[in-house]
Amino acid sequence: MRRALDILFPLLLAATVLAAWEAIVDVKQIPPYILPAPSAIFAALVQNWSSLSASMLVTISVTLQGFLGALIAAIALAILFSQSRLAERALYPYAVILQVTPMVAIAPLILIWVGFDHIDRALALIAGMIAFFPILSNAAQGLKSTDFNLLDLTRLYGASRWQTLVKVQMPSALPALLTGMKIGGVIALIGEVTAEFAAGSGTASGLAWRIVESGNRLEIATLFAALALLALTGILFFAALSLLEWALLRRWHESAMARY
């Protein structure tokens, strides 16, 4: 029942907002190139479905590539940090610098270095660079937060560092890692969109470019349709990662367990 309400309330709110939006556009006679009505946006979505859905697939594919690359790199580096304080001290500041540097400022450089012939690779790299830090910081924190007594037990029983990592530290870090993945997954999409904007015309073919293109042509209803698909893509990413979190933690971690 509670789960049904969790879905029903946001849907009701969306329906109310859309109805109000439709009514205001109709009553105020707002021109469609300023603010199209939801019905016009839906019509544009249906009309341009083949090109918009193809763009959505490109956006999903590039974001996924960036996210998975970031995930592998961040976990590897977090493991290195957990094994070597020296490595953490030496490398962590650079990870922070990567995070605080506005990606929109260095995206053009990356596009030039990787080359416009491999535009998807460049976009994935930028998306991955944005997703990297939250995954790294959460995974590193998780690995460091293992119960000291459990670590002492593994020492007492003569465990190797690898055994301690695999049997105790990594499962213990899983909740923090999944939190990092949820944040990283969503902002990887933001990174991909930023990169597409930076790439400009004639190269990118994802949803962000459809938005720019529709804006240039004053096809505002199509712009809104692309924007809606972009939001839907973000929701899909978040939902998929939340599902993964639930599947992995529901039996043992408070954050994913039902309360009675």
Partner: protein
């Protein structure tokens, strides 16, 4: 079983924050002993136990095992279980780390769980168990590290029942005594409860407030010589009086 198993001499430990936990702590343990280390909170009991286990280094002094290092088992104040793993996997941990075969490890873990009264709870996760049951899993894990070991076995317990209710605590005390008798374990039991130390052990080592050193070494009646209902006997009250007086004088 009465040979000297552990000899601690002039153990000292000061932590980086300046707290001096131990100063010249010395005592010894014979094989098969059940000894309680008793003292006020913060007197260095747990520090001493961790040094014996090799989990902490002493600043000075020595920990010697004259007949060779025994198999060590450690039970913490908290159950210290892996929350993502079921009871069987938790108990099996020492064997998994020693690269035993899965089948053999499972057999031993099941046997250890049965011995602490948890047969049928092999697949239960820690969150599905009560506080007392979690502590039983923790004890079973320590037993599991011993099972099949040919070396002498030293079980170190750091106030394991402090957070439990009185009824559960009494049941676990009796279980621990049974395991000690059946397995010929040597036990060093840290506690701040006078009654618990007198009920369980045959010798109580009383420590001074911080920095901890040995203040009294009190011999109590052998478990084998204790009458039925010892818990309610004048003899038990006398033991408690002697230990309390030593604690007061420490």
């Amino acid at each position: 079983m009465t040979s000297l198993m552990l000899n601690i001499s002039r153990l000292a430990k000061r932590f980086p924050n300046g707290v001096e936990a131990l100063a010249e702590l010395s005592f010894s343990l014979n094989g098969g002993d059940f000894v309680s280390l008793l003292g006020p909170s913060g007197c260095g009991k747990s520090t001493a136990l961790r040094i014996v286990a090799g989990l902490l280094a002493a600043d000075s002094g020595a920990v010697n095992f004259p007949t060779g290092k025994p198999e060590l088992g450690f039970v913490f104040q908290e159950p210290t279980l892996m929350p993502w793993a079921d009871a069987l996997t938790n108990v099996r941990l020492p064997l998994d780390l020693k690269h035993g075969t899965r089948g053999e490890a499972n057999g031993r873990a099941e046997s250890a769980l049965a011995r602490v009264g948890l047969k049928g709870f092999e697949r239960a996760l820690p969150r599905e168990l009560s506080g007392g049951m979690k502590m039983r899993v923790s004890i079973a894990r320590a037993l599991c590290s011993f099972l099949g070991a040919s070396k002498p076995r030293l079980l170190l317990l750091d106030e394991p029942f402090a957070a439990l209710d009185e009824i559960t605590r009494a049941a676990l005390n009796d279980d621990l005594l049974r395991l000690w008798r059946e397995d010929g374990l040597t036990i060093l039991f840290v506690t701040h409860s006078v009654a618990e130390s007198c009920y369980l052990s045959e010798r109580v080592l009383v420590m001074t407030p911080r920095p901890g050193r040995l203040s009294a070494d009190i011999a109590l009646p052998k478990q084998s010589e204790r009458p039925q209902g010892f818990h309610f006997s004048p003899q038990f009250l006398d033991c408690q009086r002697r230990v309390s007086e030593a604690l007061g004088a420490a």
